[in-house]
C-alpha cells in the first residue's frame, strides 16, 4: 500500500513537469508554424533541436569550457567560503574586521568590476579572469551560510564540549562543522547556480572571442542572426544549471539522509 502510493507519487513527480514541458513545446511549435514566425524572431523547438545536433561539436566543446570555469570557481568558493567562515568562528575580532569587506565584494556588481579584472590578468588570461569573476559571485552565499551554521551550534552541546575539556580543534571538527553541514550544503546549492551565472556573465563582459564558452557562442550566434543556435546554447546552459543543482541535491541527501530533518523521509 505504502509502496504503491510512494512510487506513484514519485512517478507523478517526474511525469507532471515532463507533461507540462511537452505541452509547452507542442504549443510553441504549433504557434511558430501557424503564425509563420521568422526564425530570427523565434525558432520552433524542432529547429533548435536541429541546430543542437548540427553544431554539437562546437557547442559541447564550449559547454565543457563553461563547465570547467564554473566547477573551478565553485570549488574555490567552497574552500575559501568555508575556510573564512571557520576563521570568523574562531575570532570575533577577525570577523568584525573582515566581514564588511566580504559584503562589499558581494554587493559590487560583477559586471562593473569585470573590465578591471580583465585588465589586471590580461586578455591572454581570460579564463583566469572568468574564474575570478565567477568566484566573486559564488563565494558569498557559502561564506554567510557557513558563518550562520558555525554559530548555530546547540549551546548545551557546546557546554558539554567545554565540560569535557575539548580543544578548539576538537570543538571545530567534532561539533561546529558537523552542526554547520546543513547550512554549508544549502549555501553550496545557491553558489553552484551562481558560479554558472558568474561564469556566463563574466564571459559576456569579456566578450572578445578570447574565450570560447557558451556565452561567447550565444554572442557569436546573435551577431550572425543564427537564432536557433543561440537557443541551442541556452538549452545547454540550462541543462548545465540543472545538472549542478541535481548533483548538489544528491550530495546533500547523501550526507544528511541519516540524521537531518530536511533529508529524512517521514512516514505518513
Amino acid at each position: 500500500m505504502s509502496f504503491s502510493s510512494s512510487s506513484s507519487a514519485r512517478l507523478l513527480g517526474w511525469a507532471l513537469p515532463l507533461l507540462v514541458g511537452l505541452l509547452f513545446l507542442g504549443a510553441w511549435e504549433w504557434a511558430v508554424r501557424a503564425q509563420g514566425l521568422p526564425e530570427f524572431i523565434l525558432p520552433a523547438p524542432s529547429r533548435i533541436g536541429e541546430a543542437l545536433v548540427t553544431n554539437a561539436g562546437s557547442l559541447f566543446l564550449s559547454a565543457w569550457v563553461t563547465l570547467k570555469v564554473t566547477l573551478a570557481a565553485f570549488l574555490l568558493a567552497t574552500v575559501s567560503g568555508v575556510g573564512l567562515a571557520v576563521l570568523f568562528s574562531q575570532s570575533r575580532v577577525v570577523e568584525t574586521a573582515f566581514f564588511p569587506y566580504a559584503v562589499i565584494l558581494q554587493v559590487t556588481p560583477v559586471v562593473a568590476i569585470a573590465p578591471l579584472i580583465l585588465i589586471w590578468v590580461g586578455l591572454d588570461n581570460v579564463e583566469l579572469a572568468l574564474l575570478i569573476l565567477a568566484w566573486i559571485v559564488a563565494f558569498f552565499p557559502i561564506l554567510s551560510n557557513s558563518v550562520l551554521g558555525l554559530r548555530s551550534v546547540d549551546h548545551n552541546l557546546r557546554d558539554l564540549f567545554r565540560l569535557y575539556g575539548a580543544s578548539r580543534w576538537q570543538t571545530l571538527t567534532g561539533l561546529q562543522l558537523p552542526a554547520a553541514l546543513p547550512h554549508i550544503l544549502s549555501g553550496m546549492k545557491v553558489s553552484g547556480g551562481l558560479a554558472l551565472i558568474g561564469a556566463v556573465v563574466a564571459e559576456f563582459v569579456a566578450g572578445s572571442g578570447a574565450s570560447t564558452g557558451l556565452a561567447w557562442r550565444i554572442i557569436e550566434a546573435g551577431n550572425r542572426l543564427q537564432i536557433p543556435k543561440m537557443f541551442a546554447a541556452l538549452v545547454l546552459l540550462s541543462l548545465l544549471g540543472i545538472a549542478i543543482f541535481f548533483a548538489l541535491s544528491l550530495l546533500e541527501y547523501a550526507l544528511l539522509r541519516r540524521w537531518h530533518e530536511s533529508a529524512v523521509k517521514r512516514e505518513s
Binding site: 569535557y164 567534532g174 552542526a179
Partner: protein, 249 residues
C-alpha cells in the same frame, strides 16, 4: 548522615551582563557521595547555580572550592538529551572518552557495557532521531556516566518525559548511584521527584538565594514502597510548604 566535604561554596553570586542578578549570597557545602536536589520556582537561579558548580559559568562574587583543588571528573545531563544528531548512539556515548584521546576501539567494551546496563545494548548503532524520548535520555545519562565521574550534574533531566518513564528513570538513577557512589546534584521542578531521590533538598527563592536546606529521611534503596509511604508524603508536604515560604501545617 555526615559525608566528607567535596564542594564548599561561600558567598557565591552571579550577575549577568545587563545587570540581572541570578544568584546572591549562596553558602553551601556538598558532601562526597551525596544526592542533593535543588528545587525552586522558575527563574530562581537553580540552573545558574548548577552551571556555576560545573564550571560552565564563573561566579561574579564569592568562591567555590573543591576538595583536592580542581573540580573532579564530572558528567552533565541537560533537560533535553543534547545528543549529536549526526552521530549514532555509540559515538554519542564515546564523546567524552574521545575528547580525552581514548579511541573507539579501546573504549568499545566499556561503552557497550554501559549501554547494556541501561538496556540500550541493541541500539548502539541507532541514530538519536530513531529513539523515543526516554531512550534518548538514557543515552544522555550513559554518556555522562561512561567517564565514571565523581560528580554528576543533572538539570531537570526527566522534565520532558511522561510520568511512568520518569519514575522508571528515577529508579534506574538511584540504583546506579547506589552502586557507583557518585555525588549527584539534581535540579528539578518536581517536589515529589526531589524527595524521592535525594538525601537533601535545597530550596531556592525568587531572589536567587537559598531559602532552606532540608534533609530527607528514608533509607536506600528506595522503591515504590517508599513512594507510597506516609513518610514520603509528609516530607513532600514539608518541602512544598517551605517552597511556598511557610511551615508545614
Amino acid at each position: 548522615m555526615t559525608k566528607a566535604g567535596l564542594l564548599q561554596i561561600e558567598g557565591a553570586g552571579k550577575t549577568y551582563r545587563g545587570g540581572t542578578q541570578a544568584l546572591s549570597g549562596i553558602d553551601l557545602e556538598i558532601g562526597r557521595g551525596e544526592f542533593v536536589s535543588l528545587v525552586g520556582p522558575s527563574g530562581c537561579g537553580k540552573s545558574t547555580l548548577l552551571r556555576l558548580m560545573a564550571g560552565l559559568l564563573s561566579p561574579s562574587a564569592g568562591t567555590l572550592s573543591w576538595a583536592g583543588g580542581a573540580r573532579p571528573e564530572a558528567g552533565f545531563v541537560f533537560q533535553d538529551a543534547t545528543l549529536m544528531p549526526w552521530a549514532d548512539v555509540f559515538s554519542n556515548v564515546h564523546l567524552p572518552l574521545k575528547l580525552k584521546g581514548i579511541s573507539a576501539e579501546d573504549a568499545r567494551a566499556r561503552i557497550m557495557a554501559a549501554l547494556s546496563r541501561v538496556g540500550l545494548g541493541e541500539a548502539a548503532h541507532a541514530m538519536p532521531r530513531a529513539l523515543s524520548g526516554g531512550m534518548r535520555m538514557r543515552v544522555s545519562i550513559t554518556r555522562a556516566l561512561v567517564m565514571e565521574p565523581t560528580v554528576l550534574f543533572m538539570d531537570e533531566p526527566f522534565a520532558a518525559l511522561d510520568e511512568l518513564t520518569r519514575e522508571k528513570l528515577d529508579d534506574d538513577l538511584l540504583t546506579l548511584w547506589n552502586e557507583q557512589g557518585w555525588t549527584v546534584i539534581f535540579v528539578t521542578h518536581s517536589v515529589y521527584e526531589a524527595v524521592y531521590l535525594s538525601e537533601r533538598v535545597l530550596i531556592m527563592n525568587e531572589t536567587g538565594r537559598l531559602e532552606a536546606d532540608m534533609p530527607i529521611e528514608g533509607g536506600f534503596p528506595r522503591g515504590q514502597a517508599f513512594r507510597d509511604s506516609q513518610l514520603f508524603f509528609e516530607q513532600v508536604k514539608k518541602v512544598s510548604a517551605a517552597l511556598r515560604g511557610r511551615s508545614a501545617p
